[in-house]
Symmetry: C2
C-alpha cells in the first residue's frame, strides 16, 4: 500500500502544491511540466505555505508523458481549459487498475475523463485551496487546502465510500492534507458551484471582490438568485441543495476576508477562463432537460465575450 | 396657432438641440438651465449640426421656473435621474390647457408626470437623436434627430392621433425636425426598449461598442434573448412586438456604424445612469403580473452596482 505511485499532470499552483506535499511525506511522485520543466529538473520545487515553508531540491520532472512511469494515481491538476490534451496525456501514464483523480473545478469533467480511461477508473476531488504560482517551480500557499474526494461512476451514480478512495485519503492525510470523503461526488460538485458561479462570474464581469458584491444590495440579491439557479440545476440531476446551504454560503462569504476569486486572478493575468467547466457544463445539463437557467446563461455569455477579448 | 409658447425643461444635448431648432423656426421658446444659465443668458446657444450649424445669440434663459412665462407645451428634456424634481418644476410653467411633452427614455415616465399635471395633459415622445453637449450652451448634433410622438392616456390606453399632437408635430416639422405620429405610445416605448435594454446595458457592463457586441456570437445571442424578454414584457401590457421587429433591430445594428451608447457615454463621464427608467420600470411592470424577466433583471442588478460605484 505504501508503494502507490503518483503522477501530477500539471505542476502549477494546485498540482505543484499537493504533489510536493505528497513527496515530502515520502511518496513516489512524478511531475509533468511544460514551461517550468528545465528549471524544476534542475532546482526542484519551492513551497511557501502558511503551514510551513519547504523545498524539494530534487523531484521527478518530465516534459513528456511517454517518459513517465505508469502510476497508480494520476492526478489531473491542469486548468480545465487544457482538457483537450487529456486523451493524449492520460493513457501512457496510467497503470492497469490505476485511477485518475480529477482535481478540477466545474461539472462533468469526470465524464470526459471516463471516456478516455473508462468509467471504473475515475475519482473526483474538489479542492478548497488558495495558492498561486509566483515563479518557476515556486508556489505560494495562502489559505485553505482541504479536498473533498468522491468516487465517480457512470452518470454520477452515488456509490458511497470505496476502499480505494480511503487509501488515497490516507496518503493525503499523511501528507498533511485535510480530506473529506463524499458519498455523492455530483452533489459535492453542485454545492461547490453554488459559490463558484456567482462569485467567480460576477467578480470578472463587474471587476469586484467578494466583499464589494456582498455590500451592494443589488449584487447581493443577484448572487442569491444565481445560487438558487444552481440549486435548480442540481435538482434536474436529482441532487437537492437545501435553502439553508445557500444561506450558509452567503453568510460565510460575508464573513470572509475580501477575496479576489480564482477566475478574476486568471482574468487579470490574461489566462483563459474556465467558463465551460463552471458555467457551460451546468447550463447544458439543465438544457438537456429543457430547463433554462437564464441568469447563469446571462453570465455565461458575458464571460465568453470577456474571455475572448481578454485573450487577444 | 402660431403663438404656441414652448418651455424647455433641461437645456442639454437634447433639450438644447430641439429648443434651438424651434426658436430658429420663429417659435417662442423659453429655456430652463442650471449650470449653464449665466453663460447662455449672455451668449445664447451654439448648435453644430450635420444638417447645418447655427447660433442663437439671444435666448430666453431662466434658472428658476417661477420666473418663466406659462407655456402651452412644456418639454421635459432632463435625464430621468432628475425626475424627482418634476413635481416642483412643472406646475409653475404650465398654462391652463397646456401639455407636458416628455422626451425621455424608458417606461412609465408619462404616468409619473400625469400624477403631477393630470392624465389629460401629457404627451410622450421618443427621440432618436445622437447629440452631445460639448461646452456651455454648445451642442453638437451628430446623427438622426427624429421623434415619435404619441398621446398619453390613463394606463397607456392607445388613443390614436389627436389634433393637439398634430399641431405640435406641425411646429416641429416646420423647424426641420422629422416627426412620426404614433397611435400607441406604450407600444412605441416598448419597441424602443427592444434596442435600449440590450445595447445600453451590455455596453456599460462589458465596456463594449455595438459592433463588438454583434461580432461576438455569445453576446449576439444574449442581445437577442434580451430583446425577446422585452417583447415578453410588452405582451404583459397588451402590446405585441413581432419577431420580425426584433430581427430588424438586430440587422439594423449590425449595419450601423460602431456606436457608443448614450448610457455608456453617461457612464464614462460618471453621470448617473437611467437604470430605473430603462430597466427598473419594465421589470416592475412585468413583476406586477408575476412575470420575472430574468436576464433583464440580471443586467439591472449589475448596472445598479456599477452605477453606484461609478458615482463615488
Amino acid at each position: 500500500m505504501c508503494d502507490r505511485k503518483y503522477a501530477i499532470i500539471g505542476t502549477g499552483a494546485l498540482g505543484g502544491f499537493y504533489g510536493a506535499k505528497l513527496q515530502k511525506a515520502g511518496l513516489d511522485v512524478h511531475f509533468l511540466l511544460k514551461s517550468d520543466y528545465e528549471h524544476v529538473s534542475q532546482y526542484g520545487l519551492i513551497i511557501e505555505s502558511k503551514d510551513g515553508d519547504f523545498t524539494l531540491p530534487q523531484v521527478n520532472a518530465y516534459d513528456d508523458v511517454t517518459k513517465m512511469p505508469q502510476c497508480d494515481v494520476v492526478i489531473v491538476a491542469l486548468k480545465t481549459t487544457q482538457n483537450y490534451l487529456l486523451s493524449q496525456l492520460l493513457p501512457p501514464v496510467m497503470k492497469n487498475n490505476g485511477v485518475v483523480l480529477v482535481l478540477q473545478n466545474g461539472l462533468g469533467i469526470e465524464e470526459e475523463v471516463a471516456q478516455i480511461v473508462g468509467n471504473l477508473n475515475v475519482i473526483g476531488g474538489l479542492c478548497f485551496l488558495c495558492s498561486n504560482k509566483v515563479g518557476k517551480g515556486h508556489i505560494r500557499h495562502l489559505d485553505y487546502g482541504q479536498i473533498a474526494l468522491g468516487e465517480y461512476a457512470l452518470n454520477y451514480k452515488a456509490t458511497g465510500i470505496t476502499s480505494r478512495i480511503q487509501q488515497i485519503a490516507y496518503d493525503f492525510q499523511n501528507a498533511g492534507i485535510s480530506i473529506e470523503l463524499t458519498e455523492d461526488l455530483l452533489l459535492a460538485r453542485w454545492q461547490k458551484l453554488v459559490w463558484n458561479i456567482p462569485y467567480n462570474g460576477l467578480s470578472v464581469i463587474l471587476n469586484a471582490r467578494t466583499d464589494e458584491l456582498m455590500a451592494d444590495s443589488y449584487t447581493r440579491q443577484l448572487v442569491e438568485q444565481l445560487m438558487y439557479e444552481v440549486a435548480a440545476g442540481a435538482k434536474i440531476t436529482g441532487r437537492i441543495i437545501a435553502d439553508s446551504f445557500i444561506q450558509t454560503m452567503l453568510d460565510y462569504t460575508i464573513k470572509m476576508k475580501p477575496y479576489r476569486t480564482s477566475m478574476k486572478i486568471d482574468y487579470d493575468e490574461h489566462r483563459p477562463l474556465e467558463v465551460e467547466a463552471i458555467f457551460g457544463n451546468p447550463l447544458r445539463k439543465a438544457q438537456a432537460a429543457n430547463v433554462f437557467l437564464l441568469q447563469i446563461s446571462c453570465l455565461y455569455n458575458q464571460l465568453k465575450f470577456l474571455d475572448t477579448r481578454n485573450q487577444r
